[in-house]
């Protein structure tokens, strides 16, 4: 195993294509948890996330000899992970379009500014769980855009490549995801802070 040593992508690819075992270890160590993290955020299930890690690496190894570095190796890996996540989601939930009522909520209805309220600070951990659950209720394309860009901090260009869409489409999905999550999180804070206020009276 290569431990902490950094291996650049070109070297890693060449060594993977030569099926060197230390390259495998390095590749797995570098990316397995990240894929697991993305899959868990999108699917909300540990067993599914594990399945995605396995399926992704198997697909990569099946095609590694034919891979031509037009894209980055890591981007290609995440594209494959993304495709496996989509396949799994579509097997279970064929409908992926944004329902009309979701479109309606893009106009902000919740206008409490919980970011400036000291009482909201104590709720932050619980609110994160609310975000995780709200994320799972988003339509899949929006969920994926939000996870890749706002949680995993990929650039817009990388997000677009991974999802095989234009940068413009990626930005639109991200924008809608943010507004929908904001609405749900604001409703949560509004309810919690209002009920806390009533209890104090």
């Amino acid at each position: 195993m290569l431990g902490e040593r950094v291996m650049d992508e070109a070297t890693l690819l060449a060594r993977l294509q030569h099926h060197e075992s230390d390259a495998f270890s390095h590749f797995f160590e570098q990316y397995a948890d990240r894929i697991y993290q993305i899959a868990f955020a999108v699917l909300g299930n540990f067993a599914d996330a594990e399945e995605i890690v396995q399926a992704t690496f198997l697909s990569v190894f099946q095609a590694i000899d034919q891979f031509e570095p037009r894209a980055k190796l890591s981007t290609w890996l995440f594209q494959i992970a993304h495709n496996h996540i989509l396949m799994l989601l579509r097997r279970r939930h064929p409908v992926t379009s944004l329902p009309e009522e979701e479109e309606a909520t893009l106009v902000p209805a919740q206008l409490m500014d919980w970011t400036t309220m000291p009482e909201a600070v104590a709720l932050r951990d619980e609110a994160r769980e609310e975000v995780r659950q709200a994320l799972l209720r988003l339509p899949e394309p929006l969920r994926m855009a939000f996870v890749l860009r706002d949680i995993e901090a990929f650039s817009t260009a990388e997000c677009a490549q991974i999802q095989d869409i234009t940068a413009g489409a990626c930005k639109v999905r991200l924008h809608r995801a943010r507004l929908l999550l904001r609405e749900r999180l604001s409703a949560y804070f509004s309810e919690r802070l209002t009920s806390a206020g009533k209890e104090q009276i």
């Binding site: 030569h18 099926h19 075992s21 495998f24 270890s25 797995f28 397995a32 948890d33 697991y36 993290q37 868990f40 955020a41 540990f46 996330a49 594990e50 890690v53 396995q54 690496f57 198997l58 190894f61 099946q62 000899d65 106009v107 902000p108 919740q110 206008l111 409490m112 500014d113 919980w114 970011t115 400036t116 932050r124 609110a127 994160r128 975000v131 995780r132 994320l135 939000f146 706002d150 949680i151 901090a153 817009t156 930005k171 991200l174 924008h175 943010r178 507004l179 999550l181 904001r182 999180l185 604001s186």
Partner: protein, 94 residues
């Protein structure tokens, strides 16, 4: 800039991707519109909370199993392993 225009430009404003003159228009609008300021603050707050979501890692036992089964597949898929297998099959046939 209207509230509707601000809302549609909100993500680009947050990501610093809005054209300079539109940034000035957005800031002027935000300075006099409390509701849009609340939407901006809570959208940024939502992103910030999401970035703080706890990272998950593959549990150790599953990770070892995954590593071993993938490593086996990786080694078996190497051209030299296929040659070895075909040579083995050929010599078995002899």
């Amino acid at each position: 800039m209207t509230c509707e225009e601000l809302l549609s430009a909100l993500s680009r404003y947050i990501d610093h991707e809005l054209e300079e003159e539109l940034v000035a228009e957005a800031q002027a609008h935000l300075a006099q519109c409390h509701n849009c300021t609340r939407v901006l603050n809570t959208t940024q707050g939502t992103i910030e909370l999401s970035r703080g979501l706890q990272r998950v890692k593959i549990p150790a036992e599953s990770r070892t199993q995954l590593f071993m089964s993938l490593q086996r597949f990786f080694q078996q898929s190497s051209p030299s392993a296929s040659e070895d297998r075909s040579q083995g099959a050929a010599s078995e046939g002899d």
